[in-house]
Amino acid sequence: MHVFETRGEQPELKQLVVEASQALARLDAARLQELALSCQALNRDLNRDPNRDLTSDTDTRGSLAQQAREAAGEMAVFARVLDATRNNLHLINRLREVRAGRLEYSEPQARGWLPRESGHGDN
């Protein structure tokens, strides 16, 4: 498991976004969950670090803004991958529903199969 260092050196936003897109593309759920935790930690750090007053630290402010601008393209890619995944998930969910419905209700009737009473029930 490799988690981004969030307490010391901050990861580049661009790197995070690229990593997230790639992990989603290969459905690496474990890595995405790690990234979610890293992002949460990063967000907490940015908002709560008492040693870093972002509103007055011009360098950090400029650096973060720069990183955000640089990562904008990768965020657009991530959004597209997320959108494609949502469509796929929706499709798979619908297919499962349809298959489950067919198995539970339609298929035996369609085959003309009806359960028969049996003397032993061992067949």
Binding site: L13, L16, V17, A20, A23, L24, A25, R26, L27, D28, A29, L32, Q33, L35, A36, C39, Q40, N43, L46, L54, T55, R61, G62, L64, A65, Q66, Q67, A68, R69, A71, M75, A76, V77, F78, A79, R80, V81, L82, D83, A84, T85, R86, N87, N88, L89, L91, I92, N93, L95, R96, R99, W113, R116, E117, S118, G119, H120, G121, D122, N123
Partner: protein
């Protein structure tokens, strides 16, 4: 005895059924690495119970064949995504080559040879230098030299665009033979499937057909229509018939006005194929949309610069006191008659630097007013409503944005294909629980990714807001 016989019959039937099922499993294992093979599951049919003295005795089950574990909706979705991904991959390859012709660092210190943006700046700067000393021979040489470089780079870029367009046409034409062999194979498979499995899954024949359709999807945008008796018809996305059950229709290509066009029968379907997807769609989008758009921009740039500079030079007075006339115009560049074709034809026709009309009309050779006017063209909206430099920069930026957009599209489509393949593989896996596990992974990945996206979006929005300088009263 009857009961014992029945028991033996039941046992031997069960063994036979198990043996058949084992054969199917063995076949699955043997074909685990066969491309396109779909896992098969044995079908069991309950035997009629035996009734003796009013009591029903079970007769077990019989194995009645195998069903391939496939989901046609999922497979179709996969094919559709593949054709989109192939189209954007092919277009991206073409756009990368196109972008290489137009370096984005125009005008910068690191500008390379062939950088048209830098050439434009240098060319108009040479007039600005001449304006300081209009009789200087070396400065006059410099004007012609920079004009030659500019004209040469624009003309070479236009020639390269034409070469790329021709190359894409050839690649696209090569795809048609692959399309034709696949549609022929699919039509033959249709016949076999309709004959052998008119009302059931076609098994390995259907695997082969699906694999061929998958390959076809990567080449050209298609729609599939199920027909009677397990048959299939395939059309292009715009509805032209490629396969009708056992019959296939061949694509052909040919040159029309120097460009490769595609035909189905006698119908020219080039524009429909360009929007349809697959490799062919990607190539054609680049050849009929991206390259012509770049060429139109270059033509406009060449036309604007040539006609504007020629008009001013022709109206001025050269070093020998001559002024241009209809009979013997003082043109720097060959004068284009129309916008189309101006880029490739752009060339410097002036050979004597003394003919540069730095002086205004009716003024002596020491005057610099016309050189100043020509230098000022750099700041006038002479090219499509913008200055020549801005016009070219906008083009390079737009091209960059197009490449970036297609890259994003391609990444998302490839990701989608990969995800759907995972789900499709899970559907035909040995363990039915794998399908549920794959579905769960998809769900979990999506949820985690949504979380990552939302947090990153918040962080980035905050960061961008932090970067904005605000006044606090």
């Amino acid at each position: 005895m009857g009961t014992i016989n029945s028991a033996f019959s039941l046992i031997s039937g069960a063994l036979e059924a198990d043996q058949s099922a084992l054969s199917i499993v063995a076949n699955n294992v043997a074909n685990a690495n066969t491309p396109g093979y779909t896992q098969e599951r044995p079908n069991w049919q309950e035997n009629q119970p035996l009734e003796i003295n009013g009591v029903s005795y079970g007769q077990g089950v019989t194995e009645t064949g195998a069903t391939s574990l496939r989901d046609s909706v999922l497979v179709t979705r996969l094919d559709q995504q593949q054709q989109l991904a192939s189209a954007s991959s092919a277009r991206l390859t073409a756009l990368d080559s196109l972008q290489a012709l137009f370096p984005p660092d125009s005008g910068s210190a690191s500008a390379k040879a062939g950088d048209i943006g830098s050439d434009i700046t240098t060319f108009f700067s040479s007039f600005a230098s001449l304006e300081a000393n209009p009789s200087d021979a070396s400065l006059r040489e410099e004007v012609l030299s920079s004009a030659t470089t500019l004209a040469g780079d624009i003309s070479n870029a236009a020639a390269s665009l034409n070469d790329q367009s021709a190359g894409l046409g050839q690649e696209a034409a090569g795809v048609t033979s692959q399309v034709n062999s696949l549609t022929t194979a699919i039509a033959q498979l249709n016949q076999q499937i309709q004959t052998t499995s008119p009302s059931a899954d076609g098994g390995t024949l259907e695997d082969q057909r699906n694999q061929d359709i998958s390959q076809l999807s990567q080449l050209v945008g298609i729609n599939q229509i199920k027909t009677e008796n397990n048959g299939l018809s395939i059309t292009t996305t715009s509805g032209q018939l490629l396969v009708s059950e056992g019959t296939s229709f061949q694509l052909s290509s040919g040159l029309v006005n120097g460009a490769t066009h595609f035909f189905l029968g006698n119908s020219d379907i080039t524009s429909q194929l360009a929007t349809g997807g697959g490799q062919l769609g990607g190539y054609l989008t680049a050849a009929t949309q991206d390259i012509p758009s770049a060429m139109a921009t270059l033509d406009q740039l060449a036309y604007s610069i040539s006609t504007s500079v020629n008009a001013l030079n022709n109206a001025g007075t050269d070093l020998n006191g001559a002024t241009g006339s209809a009979a013997s115009p003082l043109y720097v560049f060959n004068e284009p008659l129309q916008v189309a074709g101006s880029a490739q034809a752009m060339a410097v026709i002036m050979t004597n630097p003394d003919q540069i009309a730095a002086a205004g009309a009716g003024l002596g050779p020491g005057d610099n007013s016309n050189a100043l006017a020509m230098a000022n063209l750099a700041n006038q909206a002479i090219a499509g409503g913008a200055t020549p430099t801005d016009y070219y920069s906008n083009f390079v930026s737009t091209l960059g944005a197009t490449v970036s957009g297609v890259q994003a599209e391609n990444m998302a489509q490839n990701a989608s294909v990969s995800q759907l393949q995972t789900q499709n593989n899970a559907l035909s896996s040995v363990n039915l629980n794998d399908e549920a596990a794959a579905m769960s992974t998809l769900q979990t990945s999506y949820q985690a990714a949504s979380q990552v996206f939302n947090i990153l979006n918040t962080i980035m929005t905050s960061a961008l807001n932090l970067g904005v300088q605000t006044t606090v009263s």
